[in-house]
Amino acid sequence: MTTKKLFQIPSRMRICAVAVMLATSALVFGQADLSGNWDNGSGIDFLNPVVVGDSVCVVACAEVTLIPAPVSNTPRAVPARPVYKAQFLARVQELNDTQVTTDPVLRCNPPGVPRIGPPDKIVQTPTEIIFLYDDVAGNFFRVIPVDGRAHRTDVEASFLGDAVGVWEGATLVVETTHFNTDSWLTDDGSFHTANLRVEERISRDGDELTWQATAFDDEILAEPWKIPVRYATSTDVEIVEAPLCVEQDLEHIVDGTHHDNPR
């Protein structure tokens, strides 16, 4: 609306028009700008490669010095796990015991939500927020309407579900439903039902993105599973096309021996 046209409107209506414009601007200003590329560690935050000349140690490398690193007496943090109702513990244990052959992620399936973690790139418009992922299983996307649209009912249940979002001040709150049952909440046999609902809360403070998710599955969980907050840092590094994911291990597995991961 031009200034000239504004002053052609009767004064009372002009006051209302200005008030609406200011209110709308306040709403837009109240929302955070979450757009950009986000370095969230890709789930391998523990990896600290060591470069020595032209050589590189990639896995489980401490600082290479002539003085041995001190042994820490601080116990490692126990990874967060959902708490299941008693009648489902046996099934979780069975899946845990056979996870090297039953974990869907090991078959290159999409990891599901919240297991996929925070996005690697966010594209933000006034009506939609788009999450892009560069995952070991491939590239994925989620389109999150923030214009009041309801959940879709015209699509099949899927690994990443159907999401809608609302702004609570500068925090984006995303609710996702309509999941298939072919993913786990995390590793170690953490299955879920088709009634899973996940709430994610995303906010930004300067170059840091904060992501926190809570999984609700009343049929099988003793309580909502609130996973620890994860952080991502703004980066200039663009996401890339994920390499092919090709499962080639299952046919060669002899037994279920495996190792715990840091998360």
Partner: protein, 136 residues
């Protein structure tokens, strides 16, 4: 800067014992369930191909057997994200055709010419440590 290699391996082993980590992160991959961690071996040859894929990359190593016949070993290694975090590209890992000696673990199920990489030593003296020596 030169490093004390035996000290480096000791530190590496200590770090591995503390971290309990030998496998990729996204799920609990079974290295010990597939490969014989008790009998590491070494293969010498040239890298003819690399599958830059997930959840594990594969290196194809052409090795001359006792009768001078070229036999190709398919050797499993890290997911691509771990290489990228370490600043390593596919081309760097392939080594531009130079001879390499790979220390690794043979397959447990008897599949011939299948193994898991612990370390690649290149003819020009540099190396990439991609897993750790472990008796677990």
């Amino acid at each position: 800067m030169t490093i004390n290699f035996s000290l480096f391996c000791t530190l590496l082993l200590a770090c591995l014992v503390l971290s309990g980590l030998i496998s990729p992160v996204y799920a609990h991959h079974s290295v010990a369930g597939q490969f014989d961690i008790r009998t590491p071996v070494e293969w010498t040859g040239t890298i003819s191909k690399m599958d830059w894929i997930n959840p594990h990359s594969y290196i194809y190593l052409d090795v001359k057997d006792a009768s001078d016949t070229i036999v190709t070993w398919r050797l499993e290694t890290l997911p691509t994200a771990m290489f990228r975090k370490a600043g390593l590209s596919k081309e760097q890992v392939m080594g531009a055709g130079q001879e390499v000696t790979i220390r690794g673990l043979p397959a447990r199920d008897g599949t011939s010419h299948l193994g898991y990489i612990m370390r690649i030593n290149y003819a020009d003296g540099h190396f990439y440590q991609l897993s750790a020596e472990s008796t677990r």
